[in-house]
């Protein structure tokens, strides 16, 4: 392996444009023979030398035919990728240390069956997929997030050795999208804001609750919560959210200042994060107070609060 291969590849990848949508064309599809392709080339060369030496015409035929087959394999491999449309699908945030999913959508705009493999630039899990004619397919590439904050999608390598396994067609794509890593929640027993009311969450749809807003469907939402009319009209799965503020319930203050000054930044954020989750779980109202930023109760507060924690930087 080349000594600076990794650096070289990194430098080269950084020069690629960031794209949210891309269609693979001849400018970005690269074609190289596989090991099998090289060995077949070697065989063709050996047969050719034999033909040259012994003046065996039919051996020339064989050598040149194999060579022609290799060239046709190049075109066929190119066709596996050419025209393929790739698109980023916004991903949900995850907590540090969890594996995030870089979600993509692949679209095959032609009648060809395509057989692809994908991998992120950091290596890791290999994703294979077969796209039938005119098919769209969502894909996810796992990525382990080690640090709080925004992470760009890794560059993605797509390749195909179909149909012969002689030539590998590959392309790189830097999706223009990011993943947010929330702080790792750390239990904070000192500040237990919420009282678990027998584990009853607000999502259980109490009759007394008032409709608040429509939110994105989350796993665990009950059928009653699903906005069926929206689904019928726009083909979007949405859930009704209810503002269940029992009169007189206290607004919890989750504040940066709750902790001694000695506690470091990440620990504070982790604890705050845990508390946000606890409140969300219990269906409590809360206000997150960070230096320079306050997240008030509002629709989608969970995501906003977590994002604020994830993005937080001490004002200088």
């Amino acid at each position: 392996m080349l000594p600076f291969r990794k650096q070289l590849r990194g430098w080269w990848l950084r020069r690629l444009p960031l794209e949210a949508i891309c269609q693979l064309g001849q400018r970005r599809i690269y074609l190289l023979p596989t090991r099998f392709g090289l060995s077949l080339l070697l065989v063709a060369a050996a047969v050719w030398v034999g033909a040259l030496n012994y003046a065996v015409s039919l051996a020339y035929v064989l050598a040149f035919w194999v060579l022609g087959l290799l060239l046709v394999a190049v075109l066929m491999a190119y066709r596996q990728l050419a025209g393929l449309q790739l698109q980023v699908v916004p991903a949900e945030g995850v907590f540090v240390g969890q594996s995030a999913e870089c979600r993509l959508q692949l679209r095959n705009p032609s009648d060809l069956i395509r057989q692809l493999q994908l991998q992120s630039e950091h290596g890791g899990e290999l994703v294979s997929c077969t796209l039938a004619a005119m098919q769209e397919q969502p894909l996810a590439i796992a990525l382990l997030l080690q640090k709080r904050g925004w992470h760009a999608y890794p560059a993605i390598r797509l390749w195909s050795t179909a149909p012969f396994g002689l030539i590998r067609a590959f392309a790189w794509w830097r999706p223009d999208a990011s993943l947010l890593a929330y702080p790792l929640p750390l239990p904070d027993r000192e500040h237990q804001d919420c009282h678990h009311e027998n584990g009853r969450g607000r999502n259980h749809g109490d009759d007394e609750e008032d409709f608040s807003h429509l939110g994105e469907y989350r796993q665990g939402d009950t059928p009653r919560q699903i906005a069926w009319s929206v689904l019928a009209r726009r083909d979007v799965l949405a859930s009704k959210r209810f503002a269940s503020q029992p009169r007189g319930q206290a607004l919890h203050q989750l504040a940066w200042q709750d902790y001694p000054a000695l506690l470091d930044l990440e620990s504070r954020l982790s604890r705050l994060c845990w508390r946000v989750l606890q409140c969300e779980k219990a269906g409590q109202h809360y206000r997150l107070q960070l230096p320079g930023r306050v997240v008030e109760p509002q629709p989608g507060q969970r995501e906003l609060a977590l994002a604020a924690l994830a993005e937080f930087r001490l004002p200088t």
Binding site: S39, A55, L62, V72
Partner: protein, 650 residues
């Protein structure tokens, strides 16, 4: 074993290897390909049962053992046969070592190499056909092995090979050929040489004649000489031991002047025997790659056994003038003791005729009128006085008997003489515009040296006995041949002759343009196409550029081809068209029920059929999960039948 077994890539590779190896049964000791085939089969069974593979400690001694067997059988591990045998053995053992995809790919690549091996032995059109089959099967196995989503690997294999065919043709024509080998191969002697042998005794030519194999073919530039002038000389026999004529190479050098005659240019294609190829008498100069040895015969410089094509120029009907020293004259008069009666007769002719030419006249007169018969199966001549026995008692013989007797008589009369063997005549093939000379045309005649003219004169005593022999086909001139030759060689109906000639012409074209496409032919093609006067880099580049256009056309067609319609769409389109022909207009927006509604006026059976078809269409179209591609194809086939019926009924 069911065919579905080979859906597994590994099985497909084993099958392909087995098929590719089959022609080697013809060229190697049968146990070798048999053993390897059995190994492949065993490997397939292990694969099928998901069985473990035998350990290396078992395989290595077995491999050693089989290589020893190979050595004992063939006495070589290199060269054409040794190399081929070793390769297939290694292939067989390698298959027991194949575990991962990579190993199977190595096997497959070796399979492609293996395809080349039978071509070293045989380049007939049948081999070419087998080459195509092998390539197809290997490509199919490659598709199977790569485990890709191609639903019809056989179709893709055919497509890929068809698309690469033009490229192969262009490279075949354009890529430079070498005039000679890069390195030479150890020669294999144990092949039986066909053709004329290097000595002549009674029976040596008449045996050859019965084979009726093609010997060589000739294309004349310009009109061909008359058949009776076509004497193709190969060898001279200058020594007689009482029974057999052979060449002892008595004449070390010779200066020849050819006088008169007609210049004939021709191209001859044939397989050299012991570095010799026939030339029409008498050649003006040796073609490149050979020299004229004393006696004006072609001897090739290198000892090869492949088919050669040479251009030559000869003077037909010219005088072969050459001075013989006294010792040389004595050499050409040497005779063993015996045959007193013949010697006496020879001296009598000499005294009657006066000079050499007079002797020849007397002798030929005797052969013509002396009650001699031309036959392929003469009585055996035994004893020391075989010439006497032939001249005075049996008087039946073939060309070798007449040539031998005539040369003996001339020597006995003090006239230097020698026997020439070669071919006489040939058959013109009007389809291929070439002359085919066959082993039936093998012949022997005599040359006598006339002191008064200083010239070797060709005398064909057989022509005196059976003049039709030199004027036409020997098959027609010797009634005996017609019964002895295989059916195809006899006098045959015209259509059989035509088929025969067509087959010969095809073989000739194959030989000329495929097997014999070498550096010289390539050069002439380059010149003819105007690509250049020499095959150099520039000319090859020009040719490749022109060829690229030809190669790209089918590729472009494939690239831009309208994507294949799905069976359901196509079936609907067919139904629309068929109904339109019945005067029912179906709009693109019409669904199956609308179509059925519009087709109400169809006769009842057709309507019922259509109803069933459309019902299935709706089921397959709108409940896609429930239908397989095969179902849709079957449906399409029924739609086709229905449409054809509908149109026919109208």
């Amino acid at each position: 074993m069911s065919f579905s077994l080979f859906r597994q890539g590994e099985m497909a590779v084993l099958l392909a290897l087995g098929l590719v190896m089959l022609p080697l049964f013809l060229h190697l000791p049968v146990w070798l390909p048999g053993l390897v085939l059995a190994m492949l089969l065993l490997r397939g069974i292990l694969q099928q049962r998901q069985h473990g593979l035998p350990s290396l400690w078992l395989l290595l001694p077995l491999l050693g053992l089989s290589v020893c067997g190979l050595w004992l059988n063939l006495n070589t591990l290199i060269g054409r046969e040794g190399g081929a045998a070793l390769l297939i053995l290694l292939l067989g053992f390698k298959s027991f070592e194949a575990r991962q995809l990579r190993d199977w790919q190595v096997l497959l690549a070796l399979g492609f190499f293996l395809t080349a091996i039978p071509l070293l032995f045989d380049q007939s059109p049948l081999s070419a056909l087998w080459l195509v089959v092998s390539l197809l099967v290997l490509t199919w196995a490659m598709l199977r092995l790569s485990g890709c989503a191609v639903q019809t690997p056989a179709k893709v294999a055919v497509q890929a090979l068809a698309l690469s065919l033009p490229l192969m043709l262009v490279l075949f024509v354009v890529m430079p050929r070498l005039p000679g080998p890069l390195w030479s191969m150890p020669h294999e002697q144990h092949q039986a040489a066909t053709g004329l042998s290097d000595s002549m005794e009674p029976g040596s030519i008449s045996q050859l004649v019965q084979h009726n194999e093609p010997a060589f073919s000739v294309v004349f530039d310009g009109p061909a000489p008359a058949p009776e002038q076509l004497y193709w000389r190969i060898m001279i026999f200058d020594d007689f031991d009482g029974r057999r004529w052979q060449n002892v190479g008595g004449l070390s050098r010779e200066t020849v002047r050819l006088q008169g005659g007609e210049r004939i240019r021709y191209r001859l294609t044939g397989k050299p025997t012991r570095s010799r190829l026939p030339l029409l008498d008498y050649p003006l100069a040796a073609p490149p790659g050979g020299g004229l040895e004393p006696g004006h015969l072609l001897k090739l410089a290198n000892d090869q056994e492949d088919v050669l094509r040479i251009s030559a120029e000869s003077l037909v009907g010219s005088h072969y003038q050459s001075e013989l020293s006294r010792s040389d004259q004595d050499f050409y008069r040497r005779l063993p003791p015996g045959n007193p009666a013949s010697r006496q007769l020879a001296l009598q002719w000499r005294s009657q005729g006066g000079d050499g030419i007079g002797f020849v006249r007397e002798a030929l007169l005797h052969f013509r009128l002396g009650g001699f018969a031309y036959t392929l199966s003469p009585p055996l001549l035994e004893g020391d006085n075989s010439i006497d026995a032939f001249m005075f008692s049996t008087r039946q013989g073939f060309c070798e008997h007449y040539a031998s007797a005539f040369a003996f008589m001339a020597r006995a009369a003090g006239i230097p003489s020698r026997v020439v063997s070669g071919y006489q005549g040939g058959q013109f093939n009007p389809l291929g515009h070439f002359w085919q000379v066959r082993s039936t045309d093998a012949h022997a005649w005599v040359e006598v040296w006339l002191a008064e003219r200083g010239e070797w004169l060709r005398v064909d005593p057989t022509a005196a006995v059976a003049p039709e022999r030199v004027r036409q086909d020997p098959v027609r001139s010797i009634p005996a041949l017609q019964t002895q030759l295989p059916v195809l060689g006899r006098q045959v109906p015209a259509w059989v002759l035509q088929v025969q000639q067509g087959w010969q012409a095809a073989g000739f074209a194959w030989q000329q343009w495929v097997v014999g496409y070498d550096a010289t032919r390539q050069l002439s093609l380059y010149r003819w196409l105007g690509l250049g006067d020499v095959v150099d880099t520039a000319a090859v580049m020009r040719a490749l550029l022109c060829g690229a256009v030809l190669v790209c056309l089918p590729l472009l067609w494939w690239w831009r081809r309208h994507p294949e319609r799905l069976p359901l769409q196509q079936g609907r389109m067919l139904l629309e068209r068929a109904l339109l022909r019945q005067g029912m207009v179906i709009l693109p927006s019409d669904g199956p029920l609308d179509m059925l509604n519009k087709a109400r006026k169809l006769p009842t059976p057709a309507y019922a059929q259509l109803k069933q078809l459309l019902k299935e269409y709706a089921a397959m179209r709108y409940q896609q999960a429930a239908c397989s591609p095969q179902q849709t194809r079957l449906w399409l086939r029924r739609v086709r039948h229905f449409c054809a019926d509908l149109t026919r009924r109208k």
